[in-house]
């Protein structure tokens, strides 16, 4: 059963530059939450704070609270947090030296799965869920990099869900993809949301409108407005949100 994420007074820095200026947010379980906002407003920084990726950047720093259910994510080992919270990046980044099969199996093996049959099953299941199985089932031992960009991105999604996280973070997962691949990724998000709490960053407002249940609008490191997607796009409460969605800036 997936759990909600609650964020309290989250602030993040790169060096001395304060990039997130105190975010409070409750991201509901088993829903898709979209983060929208102009480039550079802190969308990536925000979701990278949710799985403690932000602190891996040299000189970067975080303050505030992030809870998954009742668990304080900033207590304990970040490695455990990242096992619970999967991430898909803006550019497809399959492990370049590994085969399609091993790209998915590696995380499972490191998680302790040794049995070959079990591994095969889990790999197939993840590829099925990522809607990639049909295209790769006869070429599992080929390098992951032999796939097209859209297929690579779905492989990265399969890789993330194979280890059965509770949350899936997606940072503009379709921005480097062609329209057909984009559509497939969006369909995938739709299907995965029953199982996972999904947070998706996008600067494409139609995409947010299509896939998200809730939408948050960020501006200059602040959360301007957070409501259900229909409200944000039809009846925003804040003038700045309205300006953004009507295309007056950004």
């Amino acid at each position: 059963m997936s759990q909600p994420i609650s964020v309290q007074n989250l602030r993040a820095w790169y060096g001395n530059q304060l990039t997130l200026k105190g975010i409070d947010m409750e991201l509901p379980a088993s829903q898709v939450t979209a983060i929208i906002g102009p480039s550079g407003c802190g969308k990536s920084t925000f979701i990278r704070c949710l799985n403690r990726m932000h602190e891996t950047v040299p000189g970067a720093r975080v303050e505030g609270d992030v809870h998954l259910g009742t668990e304080d994510l900033y207590k304990g080992d970040p490695v455990d947090v990242r096992r619970m919270i999967g991430m898909v990046f803006q550019k497809p980044n399959p492990f370049p030296t590994l085969s399609i099969f091993d790209n998915i199996a590696l995380g499972l093996r490191l998680g302790g799965m040794r049995n070959r049959g079990q591994l095969r099953e889990a790999v197939e299941r993840s590829l099925q869920m990522a809607a990639l199985w049909g295209e790769v089932k006869d070429r599992l031992s080929e390098p992951a990099t032999s796939l097209s960009g859209g297929q690579q991105q779905r492989l990265c999604i399969a890789r993330a869900i194979a280890v059965q996280p509770e949350v899936l973070l997606m940072d503009e997962p379709a921005s480097a993809l062609d329209p057909v691949s984009t559509l497939r990724v969006e369909e995938l998000v739709e299907q995965l949301k029953d199982t996972y709490t999904i947070v998706i960053v996008t600067h494409n407002m139609q995409q947010a409108a299509r896939v998200a249940d809730e939408t948050a609008f960020f501006l200059n490191g602040e959360l301007v407005e957070f409501a259900d997607t229909t409200t944000i796009f039809t009846n925003p409460g804040d003038k700045r949100t309205e300006d953004y969605i009507t295309g007056r800036f950004g």
């Binding site: 455990d80 990242r82 096992r83 990046f89 980044n93 492990f95 390098p143 993330a160 280890v163």
Partner: protein, 333 residues
């Protein structure tokens, strides 16, 4: 349209000729050196045949006495040139050096590239570069004064206990001048070379790929093991080949700590040895006094073998690299 002045045209011609010369000079130099070495070796090759690389007796003969005629060439009476001990010495000491250097260099490079930041990283990086620049005589001196006694009285006796299971580690340990000390001295010289190259390679691994692993909940070590190291493998093999070539060609430091073995093969890890490079340097002077000239030809043949071996290791490394490339064809970063 702008008119091209004849001055510009001349400059262009000069430029073309100059780049042509510059581009072909490595080939020309290599061929020239190889040609000299080969031509100089021919009499020795005719005298000794395959015995040059299978024989263990190296004896310039009676250079003041009668000349001997054999296989159509002339040499001092009783001369025999069997280079196997030197070939084995070069290979064994350089392989020991690599066995020590590879893990040390890889580990150091990982720390430099991923663990340290700011001024600590900067200082340590500079230190590695400095270490690479230390003249080999200085390292040789350290090997004689510090390392050899340590091998004789500390490390050697300790290793002989392991010798119960691994025969080559058995004693006697001797003076400390020998194979193991040569290997360690060479490792000290090779580590900075491999480290500096590997550190640069590791820093070039795209962050995006490493983040793929971090985001999946891999530990730092797992990211290194499964993403970074496989990614740089080709370059790493190249760096090791570079270090190997350096270790085989190193002359002075080995000369100082090898124990100068002549006419026998190393029998254990502490045995005195000689390397091809060291023998060429130390014997050339006396070889000049051989009126038949054969001693110099023999040393040339030794140089030829050394040249072939270093070229061969370099080619082998390239081949490995291109095979890895081939396997990973289609990789788009």
């Amino acid at each position: 349209m702008r008119k091209v002045s004849s001055g510009t045209k001349t400059a262009d011609t000069v430029f073309h000729v100059a780049t042509g010369i510059a581009a072909s000079s490595p080939v020309v130099l290599l061929l020239a050196i190889a040609a000299v070495v080969v031509v100089q070796s021919i009499p020795s090759i005719r005298l000794m045949g395959w015995h040059f690389i299978t024989g263990i007796e190296w004896n310039v003969g009676d250079t003041y006495g009668a000349l001997m005629h054999k296989n159509g060439v002339t040499a001092a009476a009783g001369a025999s040139f069997g280079a196997l001990p030197f070939i084995v010495g070069t290979l064994a000491s350089s392989v020991i050096a690599l066995l020590i250097a590879i893990p040390v260099a890889l580990f150091t490079a990982l720390i430099l590239a991923y663990r340290l930041r700011g001024w600590v990283q900067w200082i340590l990086s500079i230190l590695v570069e400095l270490l690479a620049g230390i003249p080999s005589v200085v390292i040789g001196l350290w090997g004689m004064v510090v390392l050899a006694p340590f091998v004789a009285h500390g490390l050697g006796p300790a290793l002989t206990h392991v010798g119960v299971v691994i025969p080559y580690l058995r004693g006697p340990v001797g003076t400390g001048m020998g194979l193991l000390t040569s290997g360690i001295v060479l490792a000290v010289m090779v580590v900075p070379i491999i480290t500096a190259t590997t550190r640069d390679l590791l820093q070039q691994v795209p962050v995006l790929y490493r983040e793929g692993g971090i985001g999946l909940g891999m530990t730092t070590w797992e990211v290194v093991r499964y993403i970074a190291v496989p990614y740089i493998r080709e370059g790493f093999i190249g760096a090791v080949a570079l270090g190997w070539g350096r270790a085989m060609g190193e002359t002075m430091a080995v000369l100082m700590v090898s124990g100068n073995a002549i006419n026998f093969l190393p029998h254990n890890l502490y045995s005195p040895i000689s390397s091809m490079a060291a023998v060429i340097a130390s014997q050339l002077d006396s070889a000049m006094s051989d009126g038949s000239g054969m001693a110099v030809h023999a040393l040339s043949e030794l140089a030829l073998v050394l040249l072939v071996l270093t070229l061969f290791t370099n080619l082998l490394a390239r081949l490995l690299v291109s095979r890895v490339h081939h396997r990973r064809r289609g990789v788009r970063a």
